[in-house]
């Protein structure tokens, strides 16, 4: 078993000058008759944080799952560091997976394992760390997300929703990935805890120098964690720009969504 050192768990430098970290072109995916993604084009630069917005069922989760390889798109290309993910062999895809972290909407913590084992799951699975050292490493990562080391011995079922989100964040960053995905990181949390989680996400992403892609409905969260934002509507990206501009972009559809207004193009479409 390889011993865990900083060098052992650091991801290799992979940034390619002039090439976006993540590039999606013409990605389409249908489930039966429902066309969920209808030609999605996205570029995410290295060390940037992109927030994808969109209504329920607009294809945000499918977009992220396509990049992660959990869903196979029907058409299009998905590149990470200039390499086409969909044409990678399993070994290359596995190596890419080692550099990716993911925070799921409901945490998706493993009930059968204590918190410390959840946090260090990837490192243990890849034998990059001994079980004895994993406990110490878990305590360090838990401290980064504001949790005491003693939490490591608890079961996920014993934690509150906010604590579960923090543990899930700790698990996402424990192997020091250079790309991190956040699926609705503040859903189900009160506004203060949501702001705390957002702060932790920003800190962790900056500290790791990682590229982040988040999906959210929460505009306050989007402005806090995103450098840029993109709006997904009917399976297509209809707007992208600075996250700070959300609510006054000049795009009626995005502004209606960002400001939570009943009247606007989205409502009109529903009426039809």
């Amino acid at each position: 078993m390889r011993d865990m050192t900083d060098q052992a768990i650091l991801s290799p430098p992979v940034a390619v000058a002039g090439v976006p970290k993540i590039r999606m072109r013409g990605v389409r995916k249908a489930f039966g008759a429902k066309q969920v993604l209808d030609g999605v084009d996205i570029d995410v630069d290295a060390r940037h944080s992109l927030v994808i917005l969109g209504g329920s069922g607009s294809g945000k989760s499918v977009t992220i799952k396509s990049i992660l390889g959990l869903i196979e798109p029907d058409e299009g290309t998905i590149e990470v560091d200039g390499r086409d993910v969909l044409r990678m062999g399993w070994r290359e895809r596995e190596a890419l997976g080692d550099r990716i972290g993911m925070l799921f909407q409901n945490g998706a913590l493993f009930d059968s394992l204590p918190v410390w084992e959840n946090v260090c799951f990837k490192l243990l699975a890849q034998k990059r760390i001994t079980r004895a050292k994993a406990r110490d490493h878990a305590a360090e990562v838990l401290a980064q997300v504001g949790l005491a080391g003693s939490v490591g011995d608890l079961s996920p079922a014993e934690l509150s929703g906010g604590m579960q989100k923090r543990v899930a964040l700790a698990r996402a960053i424990a192997a020091r990935p250079d790309i991190i995905f956040f699926d609705e990181p503040t859903t189900g949390l009160d506004p203060i805890m949501g702001a705390v989680i957002d702060g932790l996400i920003v800190d962790c992403v900056k500290k790791l120098g990682a590229t982040a892609v988040s999906i959210t409905h929460d505009m306050a969260s989007a402005r806090r964690i995103g450098d840029t934002a993109a709006m997904l509507h009917k399976g297509r990206i209809v707007w992208s720009g600075p996250a700070g501009a959300l609510g006054h972009t000049g795009n009626a559809l995005v502004d209606q969504f960002a400001n939570g207004e009943r009247e606007g193009p989205i409502q009109m479409e529903l009426r039809r």
Partner: protein
């Protein structure tokens, strides 16, 4: 008029296609799971956890089933055989029925209810709460981590359970034979072992291993493919138990036919 004739046929066709699709998926799932048994990494801790759950914690229910089956078998055989003055064959009938047939089938049905349901519910819950997707993002193959260790554990644990069930069932028959039917203990036991052959035991254990595979396969497959929330997991659990019970009974006939032909 045409629709009245064609609609039932179309529904039948859709059902057949869906059944073929399910059988094909199950076959691929079984192949993939089996292939992971041969390729590292191996999850010894998960195998051991599943083995203990199946072999140790199923022991009480399997033992109870076996002891009562042996007792009932002895009583029923006595009632029937007395009509032909063939009471001396009771011990042989009890042991052969148990070892070849009732031990493996009843133990497997009990384990299907207990373990098949538990596998389907646990893996189904993991599916609907994104834990299986999380495994993939954590560089772990869910088939290797969740399915392969459970299948291996069930294939090894079921024969051991059946071996214990056979012994306990025979003891149940012996208890009734000696305490209620007036057999001499030594004569009953001699009669038990005189007519028992190694093939009887081996065929029962082979059946048990196959049933173990079926129980784990159906439990994990139904759980792995469950959809929706609590209702989906509940449906997967029911499907796992019903499907594995039917498959156990059907395969029992097929295996008996194979062994009988020999």
């Amino acid at each position: 008029m045409g629709a009245i004739l064609l609609d039932p046929l179309a529904a039948l066709g859709r059902g057949v296609i869906a059944a073929c699709h399910a059988v094909g998926n199950l076959g691929l799932f079984a192949l993939e799971a089996t292939s992971h048994l041969l390729r590292p990494p191996f999850y010894g801790r998960l195998f051991w956890r599943a083995f203990v759950e199946i072999a140790w914690f199923s022991l009480p229910v399997v033992a109870l089933t076996a002891v009562f089956t042996g007792m009932v078998l002895a009583l029923q055989s006595y009632t029937g055989f007395a009509r032909f003055n063939a009471q001396s064959a009771i011990a042989s009938v009890v042991v052969i029925s148990l070892v070849r047939e009732l031990g493996p089938v009843l133990a497997a049905l009990m384990v299907a209810g207990r373990i098949g349901a538990s596998f389907a519910a646990e893996i189904g819950t993991m599916r609907v709460t994104d834990q299986i997707d999380a495994l993939t993002t954590l560089s772990t193959n869910p088939m290797k981590y969740l399915v392969a260790p459970r299948i291996l554990a069930a294939v090894i644990a079921l024969p051991l359970l059946v071996l214990v069930a056979d012994v306990i069932g025979v003891m149940g028959g012996w208890l009734i034979g000696t305490q209620k039917l007036g057999f001499v203990s030594a004569a009953y036991l001699k009669s038990t072992f005189d007519y028992l052959e190694a093939d009887d035991v081996v065929s029962g254990l082979v059946k048990a291993a196959v049933f173990g595979f079926v129980i784990a396969l159906m439990g994990t497959w139904c759980g792995y493919n469950s959809k929706g929330g609590a209702q989906g997991v509940g449906g997967a659990t029911t499907k796992a138990v019903v499907a594995s019970s039917i498959l156990i009974l059907a395969l029992d006939y097929v295996l008996t036919e194979i062994f009988f032909a020999q």
